[in-house]
Structure formats: C-alpha cells, structure tokens
C-alpha cells in the first residue's frame, strides 16, 4: 500500500475529527465483541467539480464536498450497515452498536484474504481539480465550442461538460489493517446537435480516467472528441430506418464491449451466483462462448476509469479470467460472497460511497484480441448490421436477457458497408450470445473512459473493451421489417 495515500487519508479524514487509528481499532474491537464474520469501517472524503458550457458560454459550475463513514458487520450472509455524514467517535460507536446486532449466531471460520502485497500504484495520489486553473478550464471549453461550430455550419448546439473528482478513502478492517487510497477521476464530454433541412441529430464523444485535466490537452484528445461528436451527428443525419429482426451483427471495437458487461459480466458477479439467481449459476467449467472468446475483468490497468489500487474493502483488484477459450472460469467476488463460496476475494468489492455497503462489481471488463482483421470480418457478412458505437445497456440476470443500444450503425450487404441506419436496441440471451461469436478481431480497444455502471441503486465508474466481433444472430430492434 502507498504510504503517501495513508498519510493523506489520515490528514484528510482523521485529523479534522481529532481521531487516530487507535480510535478506529476500538470501534473494530467493539464490532468484534459480537460474533461477526466480517467487519469494517469505511471513511471517505470526496471533492468534485463540474462545469457546463452551452450556447457558447460557460453558464454553470458546481462544487461539492461529500464526506462520511460507513460501518459494516457481516454474520453469515447477513449484513448490518450504518452510515453518517458526521465523522466523529460517538457516531462511529453508535453505528457499530447498531450494526453488530445483526450477529446472532457463532461466527464461521475466518476467511482467507486475497493477496495484499504492496505493488505499483496505478495512478498518482493527486487532486486533479487544481491541475488546471479555472481560467484555463473555461478557455478550453470555449475553444472546443468554437472548434465544433467552425467545423460544420450545420452545428446548432454544442454542450461541453468537464468534471473532476478528488476522493480519499480509508478502510479499517477486522484484521486490524488500514488501507488507504487517493483516487483522482476526470471526464470531458462534448455533445453536438446538428440540423439539416429541418432534421436534427445528435452526436457525442468524450473520455477521461484516473489522471488530471492536462490529459485532455495531450495528444489533442479534446479536439478528437469534438471531431468524433460531429462525425457521429453527420452520420446520423444521413441514417435511414434501422432493420428489425434476427440477423448477423458485427460489433465495433472499444465501447461496444458494453455487450460483455451486460451479457456476461453482471451474471458472473458473486452475489447473484451465491444466491442462485443468475442464469450463470453453477456453470463454472461449462462452455458458454465459442473457443475464440477469452474475457477478463482487470482492475490493474494504469489510469483507467475502472481501475483501483484497492477495492472498497481494501483488496487489490486482480486480472480475473471470466471466460477462457469459451469455458467459464470464474466469478467476481467481494469478501462476503467469496467467503460464503469458499473462494478468494478478487478485488471487486465496490461501493458508490460511504453511504452504501460494498457489493461485487466489475472494474474494466474486456475480451482479448483474436486473429481476424476488422476488414475481413465485414467482408465475411452477406447481409447484416455493423453496429459501430453504442449507448448504454441493461440485463435481467435471472432470465439472462440483455439489451444494449446502438448509436451508430450501418447496413452491410455482400461484404460491404452500404449505408448508415438509425440507432436501435439489440437484445440477446447472455448465456448463449457468445457461443455465436464466429470471428474475433485483432483490434482490441478499450473505451475512452466514459462508463458508469448502476446496480442496486449504486453507480460506479467502469471500463469496457473488445475487438471487432462477428455475432451470428442477434435480434435488432429497428422499425423496418
């Protein structure tokens, strides 16, 4: 663990409340007087800002401070949890008294912990909010607005949003350990509305990661977001009706990896499998994908939006193989579910904030590259849809049905892209969609850093990625029969 992070966390979270780690140890001790299996205290401070430009002016800015603690006691599969915005000893102790009441039977044996050796930090413990002066943030947003308007006279509206978060967490666990992490996160997004002969269409693009604002100035990133937003709106202005029915679909690389997130990722989260409510329950070792598919969840990629030095229970995330050459290999675990399933935590215990108990969540989920070139894949399709980019998705983990919505798509005929078609929702069945992946591209790409995943009312930043894929049969929800 980074000593620097621990120093910052102590200074930010404990000192203002006149607390020392010894106080947290006392609270943990109080929790452990009850027969609990798992106990922790999570303290968090987050300072965020966001700026919004529209109509050519930066008209909104927001600054927020969120801080507080969450105290948890777990006994078997039962969780007691309390939180408060007021970090002080008495509140912590009261919370501990409340939550430990969940424990009413003798505790099981203590679980094995995931590896907790120190390793290279994936991002620096910086406060990104001050890495660019406010004048420079405003100037950047205004420049992007002008760039967009100069690029195409059909641009009617440009909306630019810039946001940053500085987050400090400190976790005290039942083993008497303290884990700290300082998590920067920045995001820039451009969206444009274009009009042509009375028809309006939208395009948007953006990116970010666990770094600082200067990231957007490097390699002309911000400018490429503008170009991409405009390109998408231009394509949509020419798009015709989307097809309806079951057909061959070629999925683009990068963000379309939201397919993996919805179709299999959620279904492999430990809680649903322990409870037996997932369509993937009890299927480890089964063939759930074609042999060309290998899918991982990897929280160890430097500076990625979904990456974490430690998860929200203090476990370092790993590189977890979910599917290897088509065979289901593993689930994603937090401590509670790992213990109940006799597995090790995989570093996927995450929470939106101190106000939520941790649950198994994805980090960066992607499919490894295959052998085909994207051109070969398109050329192999007689008739079908090329879905190059997507919006969000959703899954019913019990029935396995999932959806994701294309935002940029083309019709393929005789191996050639012929014309753009409107976006449409695609629907499939998680446990068998990957068995119909017949070609995997050699162009693995991760998304630019825009993903947010919601589960049980908790939102967390995530990443996705994939190479170009050919799926032999997905239902496309257009209007043209």
């Amino acid at each position: 663990m980074s000593n620097e992070a621990l120093t910052i966390a102590t200074r930010t979270l404990l000192e203002p409340a006149a607390l020392e780690t010894a106080h947290l140890e006392r609270i943990i001790g109080h929790l452990l007087e009850a027969p609990v299996d798992l106990a922790d205290i999570y303290l968090q401070f987050a300072r965020s800002e966001s700026w919004a430009l529209e109509d050519g002016i930066v008209k909104e800015g927001h600054h927020s401070i969120e801080q507080g603690f969450g105290v948890r006691a777990v006994c078997g599969d039962k969780t007691g949890f309390a939180y408060s915005d007021v970090i002080e000893f008495d509140s912590l102790m009261e919370a501990a008294t409340n939550v430990r009441a969940i424990a009413r039977h003798p505790a099981d044996a203590r679980q094995a912990l995931g590896s907790n050796t120190s390793r290279k930090q994936l991002y620096r413990p910086i406060d990104p909010l001050h890495t660019l002066g406010n004048e420079d943030k405003i100037a950047l947003m205004q420049r992007l607005d002008r760039l967009a308007r100069n690029r195409d006279p059909r641009v009617e509206q440009v909306i630019v949003s810039l946001a940053g978060t500085y987050e400090v967490v400190l976790i005290a666990t039942q083993e008497g350990r303290f884990h700290a992490d300082v998590r920067p996160l920045v995001r820039l997004n451009i969206s444009v509305v274009m009009i042509q002969n009375g028809r309006r269409e939208q395009g948007s693009a953006g990116g970010g990661g666990r770094t600082d604002y200067r990231y957007f100035l490097q390699e002309d990133r911000a400018d490429t977001y503008v170009a991409e937003a405009i390109r998408q709106a231009q394509v949509n202005l020419e798009a015709g009706e989307a097809p309806a029915g079951n057909m061959t679909v070629v999925l683009g690389s990068g963000w379309p990896g939201v397919l993996l997130h919805e179709a299999i990722g959620h279904g492999l989260e430990g809680d649903f499998n322990r409870k037996g409510t997932s369509a993937f329950r009890g299927r480890i070792g089964d063939k759930v994908a074609s042999p060309v598919c290998t899918v991982v969840d990897d929280g160890t990629l430097p500076q990625r939006r979904g990456s974490l030095n430690i998860d929200d229970e203090g476990t370092p995330p790993g590189h977890t193989v979910l599917i290897e050459n088509g065979i289901l290999k593993g689930y994603l675990h937090d401590r509670l579910n790992a213990r109940l399933m006799n597995s090790a935590p995989t570093g996927n215990g995450r929470r939106e904030s101190y106000a939520y108990a941790p649950i198994p969540r994805m980090t960066n989920t992607y499919m490894l590259a295959g052998k085909s070139s994207p051109e070969e894949i398109i050329a192999s399709v007689d008739k079908g849809l090329y879905a190059k980019n997507f919006g969000g998705g959703q899954v019913d983990i019990t029935s396995g049905k999932f959806v994701f919505s294309a935002s940029e798509a083309y019709w393929i005929e005789n191996g050639k892209i012929t014309r753009p078609v409107k976006g449409a929702t695609l629907i499939g069945n998680g446990p068998d969609v990957l068995t119909r992946v017949s070609m995997v591209g050699n162009d693995l790409e991760l998304d630019p850093g825009v993903g947010t995943c919601g589960k049980d009312g908790q939102s967390v930043p995530v990443g996705v990625g994939q190479p170009t894929l050919r799926v032999d049969g997905l239902t496309v929800g257009g209007t043209h029969v």
Binding site: A95, Q394, I427, N429
Partner: protein, 445 residues
C-alpha cells in the same frame, strides 16, 4: 420523530446565515436548500434478515449570482468551515463563469406566499425487528405461492422521513417535513431450465396507505409465475398495450420532450409544439401538485416558486411546457413552477378496464416490462427491449421475452387508441394501460 422536527429551526438558521454571507461576499442574489433525512432499510431473504441498513443523510446546496454569472456548490458536511468553503467555491465558480443574460432568481411575484399543508409527513415508528417481520411476512407469501417459486431476491422495507428547507435572497425561507415508505418483493420462478423473476412494490407517504405485505408478496409471485415458459416472437407489426405500471414511461418521454431545458437546447422532438395537437383529441394530461399525501406533491418548486394545477395536454394539444425560471427566460415565457421537475402528472383514464381493452384489441402484444434506454429524444426514435404476453382473441396466450418494440414517439402518440381505467396511482405519473395501434416488434424466431 420529535428529534427531527427539532432540527427544522437550526437548519433554517444555517440556510439564512449562508444567504446573508453570500450577500456580504457581494452576490447580487442567492438561493440555498438544505435537507436532513433519516431512514431504515431492511431486506429479508428466504425467511431471514439479510441486510439491515440505517440511513442518515444531510446536505446543503447554495447557488450565488453575480449579475448574470452563476455558481453553485453543495456539501454533506454542515460544519461552519465546510459551509464557508462551499459558499466560497460557489463564488469562485460564479466569478469565472460567463455572463448569461437569462441567469438569476425568479421574479419576486412568483414567490410562493400561501403555502398549503399537503399532509406529507407520516413517520413510521418502526424498529429493525418489526421491519424484518413485515418484510419476512411479505416474502413468505410469495415463496408459498407455488412450488415453481424456487428462489428469492428478498423483500425490502424502506422507511424514510426528513426535512427540506429552501430559502433565497428575495426573502423566502421555508421548510417542511415529509416521509416516504415502501415495501417491495422480488422472487425467482423456475420451470424446466428457464428461470424468471419479477417483483411488486407499494409506496406511500403514510404507512397506513401501503398495500398489505401479503398482497405485495402474492402479486410478486403471480407476476413471476406468469412469465414462466416465455418465448420469443417472429418479427411483425402489431398493436401494443403498455400495462399501467410501464405506460408511465411513455408519459415520461412526453414530459421530457416538453421540458424547458430540452426545448431551448433543441434536443427534443417536441420543439415548437406549444398549441399543436400531438395526441388524439380525447387526451387530457394535467399536473396536480397539491394532492394530499401525493408522492409527487410539493407546495413550491426547487426555486421557491408556487406550484399550481395546470393542463399540459387538453384535447390532445400542448397547453404548457415544463419550465423553470431559467428555461422560461430562454424561451421568452413564464415559469410554470417546475424547477426540479413535475409534481403528480395525471393522465385522465378512459372507460375500459384492462381485460375489456385486450378484448377490443383482439390480437397483439401486452408489454409488462421494458429494458434499456433506446430513446432518442432529439428525433423521437424509440427502440427498447421488452417482455410481456402475446394476446389473441382478446385473451393472453403465452408469455414472451427477448423481443424489442420500436417506433417513433410522435407516431406512437398519434396512434394512441385509448387509456384503460386501471390507473397505477403509486408514482409521480398516474396513467392507466395505454394501447398503441401499431409498433414494430422484432424477435429471434
């Protein structure tokens, strides 16, 4: 819950103080809101408590104006130094932002002066054991409903009550307490290899108005069982009925389309629709912000403007947009008291109940669940995942899943055949089931 009511005055004082400090820092106008919320949430699964969560949230948000420059900031730490830092952060943002001629507080004459008591506060004196008991009883009914109910995601009871304060530099300062309670249940059914889940919930301001736990459990089980044996459909164009619970989403898209922010940004398919007919003649949609105990009820909006009952659609024609002071100024109109959203939107029902409606339809799709976010508000293009039932001769034939339904919202509104009288009264939007003449259904068969 005297403890919470006693916080009303101190929290009001904090809001007053921050408004005063904003003035001292040179702000030409300021508004601030604060809230404190206490809650208990328990989930019971397979007959035993699974989670017990104690909630305690507080926050304060302030917006300052320096002429046409605006900045806002919020904090969950209500200590003096954090409040000071928050106010200063808002001022820094305002100083750096651009002059916006439309920015500023609302006109003083729109200020809520007579504030109605909407009977929103009915705290529930319930401890964790009692809450677990209710949730467990609810789930048990679902588990016992059939041996095809094989698993459960549990039953969850939530009870919250809190206070909200709002003040601005026009002299407005008011606060009121409100409560909200809910009970939901979700169970898993299995037939052959197929598993399905569904849920039901009840929500109310007053615990006495909640549906009984056994009814919630039974309904959850019935809905899950009805889905077992679901199959896909062939691709076709057919009539579609949205059940009342999900028909609210169609009305929600209409509301998004007439929301001021989407209109002045030109990100709505309903730009310039005021005074135009976009629904059939019989449609009447209105906002009723003062319904006693209403889930969406509010005496004033999030900028202190008095809310008032008004028509959104009359005889199928757009009568009003949904505007805050800011979006109203952008459009050269008057605020409609909708800063922060709508308050109880009512769609007047027709005369048929749901089974009569299905008989009138004959053959078509009855949609009970929608998935994903496939709505393009700019163009009105609509494409979503769906599940429900195939209907023939007015009778449900079998459950369907893994299908999509698609169309364009403007066409969908034009082709609205009728609204049933089976109104779902739980939420902020109240409508009966909605029958659309034709949509494209895509399936894998």
């Amino acid at each position: 819950m005297e403890a919470l009511e006693s916080q009303l005055k101190p929290l009001q004082d904090k809001v007053a103080r921050i408004l005063e400090q904003a003035k001292q820092l040179g702000a030409s106008g300021a508004e601030a809101g604060a809230g404190l919320d206490l809650g208990l949430s328990v989930t019971s699964r397979l007959g035993e408590a699974e989670t017990v969560e104690y909630h305690c949230d507080q926050n304060l948000a302030v917006t300052v104006y320096f002429g046409g420059r605006k900045g806002s900031a919020s904090t969950s730490d209500l200590g003096d130094s954090s409040l000071r830092e928050t106010l200063e952060a808002a001022c820094v943002i305002a100083r750096h932002g651009n002059e916006d001629p439309c920015a500023g507080l609302h006109d003083p004459d729109r200020l809520a002066t007579r504030i109605p008591d909407l009977d929103l506060n009915h705290p529930w004196q319930l401890n964790a054991e009692q809450a677990i008991e209710l949730a467990t009883a609810c789930e048990q009914v679902a588990l016992d409903a059939s041996n095809e109910i094989v698993n459960s995601e549990g039953a969850t009871l939530n009870t919250h009550h809190g206070i909200r304060i709002f003040g601005n530099s026009l002299g407005f300062l008011h606060g009121y307490p409100a409560s909200r309670h809910s009970l939901s249940c979700s169970v898993v059914g299995k037939r052959g290899e197929q598993m399905q889940r569904d849920y039901w919930y009840t929500v109310a301001r007053d615990p006495n108005d909640l549906e009984a736990p056994d009814k919630v459990g039974l309904r959850a089980a019935e809905r899950t069982l009805a889905r077992l044996g679901a199959r896909s459909l062939t691709t076709r164009q057919v009539p579609v009925v949205f059940t009342a619970e999900i028909a609210t989403s169609l009305i929600g898209h209409f509301l998004a389309g007439i929301r001021g922010g989407n209109l002045y940004r030109k990100t709505s398919f309903l730009v310039d629709s005021l005074g135009k007919q976009i629904f059939p003649e019989f449609m009447h949609i209105h906002e009723e912000p003062h319904i006693p105990k209403g889930i969406g009820s509010a005496p004033y909006d999030s900028e202190g403007v008095a809310t008032f009952p008004h028509d959104l659609i009359d005889r199928g024609t757009v009568k009003s947009f949904i505007l805050s002071s800011y979006s109203a100024r952008k459009l050269g109109m008057q605020t409609t008291g909708n800063a922060g959203g709508v308050h109880n939107v009512i769609v007047d029902p027709g005369r048929l109940d749901r089974s009569e409606l299905l008989r009138e339809m004959g053959s078509g799709l009855l949609v009970t669940e929608l998935m994903g976010h496939g709505i393009n508000l700019v163009t009105g293009d609509y494409s979503r995942g769906a599940a429900g039932f195939w209907v023939e001769n007015g009778e449900i034939q079998y459950p369907v899943e893994e299908i999509t339904i698609a169309g364009n919202l403007q066409d969908i509104f034009d082709n609205l055949v009728t609204i049933a009288k089976d109104v779902d009264r739980r939420g902020n939007i109240r409508t009966g089931s909605i029958w659309i003449k034709e949509m494209t259904v895509a399936g894998k068969r």
